[in-house]
């Protein structure tokens, strides 16, 4: 792996240009000096551990736009949901295009004009997958701007210097905007050599987020804040019971409520459209609905349905011999994790306007491209007639990898001939989430005469994560066999073990389950790393050394080793109990980024308190180290929340709780006062950041609790009472 300064596969890589600015009506607006349309083929980053950027295929796409004021708008194929991607993109663009970061505005691209990543915004891949393509494109644009300036100034392009959006040569000076004024030929030069890393002013620096001020003064940047002229507000009724469907509804009272414009009964849901949101909500409560509830699910029936030995089986990893269940010296430990809710604070919603066979939708979504298809399908129109405008997201966490509700807003708009805005109530968010599936794990191991593991197996059962997701084609589940999402963190990472394997059991549950930040990683690592800790304890060995002994020598194994050693040393790790306090250790690798954590836990009156967390991660090049730290801090506290607080249950066929509070989450008082993050740059390209730190936290806490109390907690969320 290298920090490529040479563009790869130059001959195969092409930019496609759309002819004529006039056709896009941009000049007519008079605002923009140029819009630069180009399209790339699927980008190949074969040397990295990260899946490639996968942009849309055939229509022209726009990346850069220069305004008269000499500001550059970067139309981002990825959205901003808090992870700092827009800031990272601005840094990358600034360094190769020689702009001051204040001259760059990053916006989520619209489907009408932008290039959208078919892979969505997720998987912690935004910076990792876009680092190389954006640098190359920015460098290419820099070259283009120089060539245009050279023509205008009648000088040699090679003599031109660029800085802060200004070109200078032979005593002459010109802004980028001036250089590009009236350009009509948008053919692009070859991508020049990229700048040496040492020349970068922004990449690798902890600069403040570019959206900081907007978020401090409360600017209306979110989907919830979006409006359209003359819009109406709607509330929607959807099933409360798992697996239920709409039988009949009496809407007569609701229709006569103040402000109500129309009540529509659609396929499986009812929309109440009114002049204001409170009016729509009041009328919604007057609709009498009868539901068809074929099966009343309970917690027990769910657990019986989803367990190891039930559903589809797939071996996801195997090396060496298999252990025999109940065999001589074979030890089993069983773990579970509950249904988890996304609970992002901004509810899902959309504002849509259907007019003359075309639809415009504004919303918070991680899947702009897929939402366009869903809306087009629901209205039976071509995708070209649907424009999706992505806003800033009030949290994503995987919840917005399917935003099918955009289609509901569009259908309601069509019914009333006006724009319609609607969003989920909090109860609907909790009952109609696409949950983190519950899981069941058996870790099976056998130790040698020294107490070191000689065989380790992870058997795990999960509901859908990637299978049946809108993000993937329907065949993906059957072709792959395995749920690649449930598998995250499910395989054994210690390759020096003589025998290891991982076996997945999969079942589709009666309610929607899908991507929840870090996917299977949280629960899988909890199970595996708790078991390993238990074995180290039994053998009377230091758990850090116990782990190091199981690691091999290849590059990846050494990266894991380094992270583990560094973390133990930074935290001054020891496995002694002092009063009601102890440290806990755990490690994991996710999407190529190894991470280790030491937690300091205290227990007072059965309350589990995480006092301090030391986190060491090797995520390669940190484009913005401050934002990487922020992701670690957030992931750690979200992980604490999942590991010791959160849990959804099924009662009488319904999912509970339906509100924050009863859905217990980590608050300020549950957050560690100290979080010490250390980053290692084991490779010189950026690797995933936003999810890997969720791996170790649960097991690390459990391992500390085990030392303080002598109890091995095996069910998430962990409680002592």
């Amino acid at each position: 792996m290298s920090n490529n300064t040479k563009p790869k596969n130059k001959s195969r890589r092409r930019f496609f240009l759309k002819a004529g600015l006039g056709t896009m009506g941009v000049l007519a607006l008079g605002t923009y000096v140029f819009r630069n349309p180009m399209r790339r083929k699927i980008y190949e980053l074969s040397e990295t551990l990260v899946p490639p950027y996968n942009g849309s295929g055939t229509e022209a796409n726009l990346w850069f736009e220069m305004t008269k004021e000499n500001k550059l708008i970067f139309h981002s194929p990825k959205v901003e949901m808090g992870q700092g991607t827009f800031t990272g993109f601005a840094q990358i663009v600034a360094d190769e295009l020689d702009l001051n970061i204040n001259q760059i505005i990053v916006k989520a691209a619209e489907t009408d004009t932008g290039i959208i990543d078919g892979m969505s915004t997720g998987g912690s891949l935004s910076i990792a997958s876009m680092y190389q393509p954006i640098r190359e494109m920015a460098a290419t644009m820099r070259e283009k701007i120089k060539l245009e300036a050279a023509k205008k100034l009648s000088i040699d392009a090679s003599s031109i210097k660029t800085a802060d959006g200004v070109l200078t040569a032979e005593g002459k000076i010109m802004t980028y905007a001036e250089a590009l004024a009236e350009v009509t030929d948008w053919s692009l030069p070859d991508t020049p050599e990229l700048r040496p890393f040492s020349s970068y002013k922004y990449i690798g620096k902890p600069i403040p987020r570019t959206d900081l001020k907007a978020k401090i003064v409360g600017e209306p940047i979110f989907g919830m804040d979006a409006e359209m002229p003359d819009m109406l507000h709607a509330a929607v009724i959807r099933p409360e019971h798992v697996g239920s469907s709409l039988k009949s509804a009496d809407t007569s009272v609701a229709e006569k409520m103040p402000g109500v414009v129309k009540v529509v009964q659609m396929d499986g849901w009812i929309g109440i459209i009114a002049e204001s949101f409170p009016q729509a909500l009041a009328a919604k409560n007057k609709v009498k609905v009868e539901w068809d509830i074929p099966t009343v699910w309970t917690e027990q029936s769910l657990r019986d349905y989803l367990k190891i030995g039930e559903g589809d089986k797939m071996i996801t990893q195997k090396s060496g011999a298999e252990l025999e269940e109940g065999g001589d010296g074979v030890i089993d430990l069983e773990f579970t994790s509950p249904i988890g809710a996304h609970a992002q604070i901004e509810p899902n919603g959309a504002v849509a306007h259907y007019k003359d066979g075309k639809v415009t939708v504004k919303l918070s979504t991680q899947v702009i491209g897929i939402t366009q298809k869903q809306v087009a399908e629901a209205l039976n129109i071509d995708t070209e007639n649907v424009n999706i405008i992505g806003t800033y997201l009030g949290g994503g966490f995987g919840r917005r990898l399917d935003t099918n509700h955009a289609a509901h807003a569009a259908l309601m708009s069509k019914e009333v001939g006006k724009p319609v805005k609607y969003f989920f109530t909090r109860k609907e968010e909790f009952q109609n989430d696409m949950f983190r599936p519950p899981t069941h794990h058996i870790i099976r191991g056998k130790v040698d005469n020294n107490g070191q593991l000689e065989a380790l197996e992870h058997h795990y059962a999960s509901g859908d994560v990637a299978i049946n997701a809108a993000l993937f084609p329907p065949v993906a589940g059957t072709v792959l066999g395995t749920d690649v999402g449930a598998m995250r963190g499910g395989n054994i990472m210690y390759k020096n073990l003589p025998n290891y394997r991982a076996v997945q059991w999969h079942r589709t549950l009666p309610f929607a389950t899908s991507f929840w930040r870090s996917l299977g990683l949280l629960a899988n690592t909890f199970a595996i790393e708790s078991f390993i800790d238990e074995m180290a304890l039994k053998a009377g060995k230091n758990p850090v050394e116990y782990r190091l002994a199981m690691l091999g020598d290849d590059e990846n194994q050494q990266r894991i080793r380094k992270v583990i050693e560094e973390c133990a040393s930074k935290a001054n790790y020891n496995d002694k109990v002092s009063g009601n306090k102890a440290m806990g250790f755990a490690a994991s690798i996710d999407a190529g980024s190894p991470c280790a954590q030491v937690v300091e836990v205290s227990i007072i009156d059965n309350e589990i308190k995480v006092e301090k967390v030391t986190c060491v991660m090797d995520c390669g090049l940190a484009v913005n180290p401050d934002q990487v730290r922020a992701q670690c801090e957030g992931s750690i506290i979200m992980g604490i929340s999942a590991a010791v607080h959160e849990k959804m249950t099924i009662k009488d066929g319904r999912l509970f709780p339906i509100i924050y509070g009863p859905y217990d989450m980590a608050l300020m008082r549950n957050s560690p006062k100290e979080i010490d993050v250390h980053l290692i740059q084991g490779v010189d390209v950026p690797l995933p950041v936003g999810e890997p730190p969720l791996g170790p936290i649960g097991a690390a806490i459990g391992n500390a609790i085990r030392r303080i109390t002598g109890k091995r907690l095996t069910d998430l969320p962990m409680t002592l009472a």
């Binding site: 401090i216 003064v217 600017e219 919830m224 507000h233 409170p278 909090r426 401050d626 506290i637 979200m638």
Partner: protein
């Protein structure tokens, strides 16, 4: 029903049902979108604003109670272009991630500092009980202490 109150220092009259939550008047009638909807049940704090200097969860505050009162939202927290010490501290510590919950937290913090100018960690734990799903609590705690410092120096 016609209700008159001050919002961010300016007098406003609205004509809405008296039970309408203050949040929706602020967001949809007065078009101040900085105050957020998160739950509608006083459970998350995203909608926190000030009524006569007190932190209030506006999603559960009927508009009729605002009659004659002084309402402050995030848009009116600073003075003109000057950010409030809480906002300054939030900038310094680079607190927001997605940012959605942040106005509510800043409003809750600003109200806390009026009552307890130098809050201890325990004061913060007991009084700042909003929810941030991005879990920016670690930086928020630092920012709250920093805001107390800035405010102390200014006054």
């Amino acid at each position: 029903m016609k209700i008159t109150f001050n919002i961010n220092g300016k007098s406003q009259s609205v004509d809405v049902d008296e039970h309408t939550p203050l949040l929706w008047v602020v967001r949809d009638v007065l078009n101040l979108k900085g105050t957020k909807f998160g739950c509608g049940k006083a459970a998350c704090g995203a909608c926190t604003l000030h009524v006569d200097g007190e932190a209030v969860r506006s999603c559960s505050y009927p508009i009729k109670f605002a009659e004659g009162k002084e309402v402050t939202t995030i848009e009116g927290l600073g003075e003109g272009d000057n950010l409030h010490p809480v906002q300054q501290a939030w900038m310094e510590e680079i607190v927001p991630q997605c940012g959605y919950c942040q106005p509510g937290f800043m409003m809750a913090t600003a109200a806390l500092l009026e009552k307890i100018p130098n809050p201890t960690d325990e004061d913060i734990d007991n009084n700042i009980v909003n929810i941030c799903r991005c879990a920016t609590y670690y930086r928020m705690r630092k920012a709250i202490h920093r805001a107390a410092e800035i405010k102390g120096t200014n006054s």
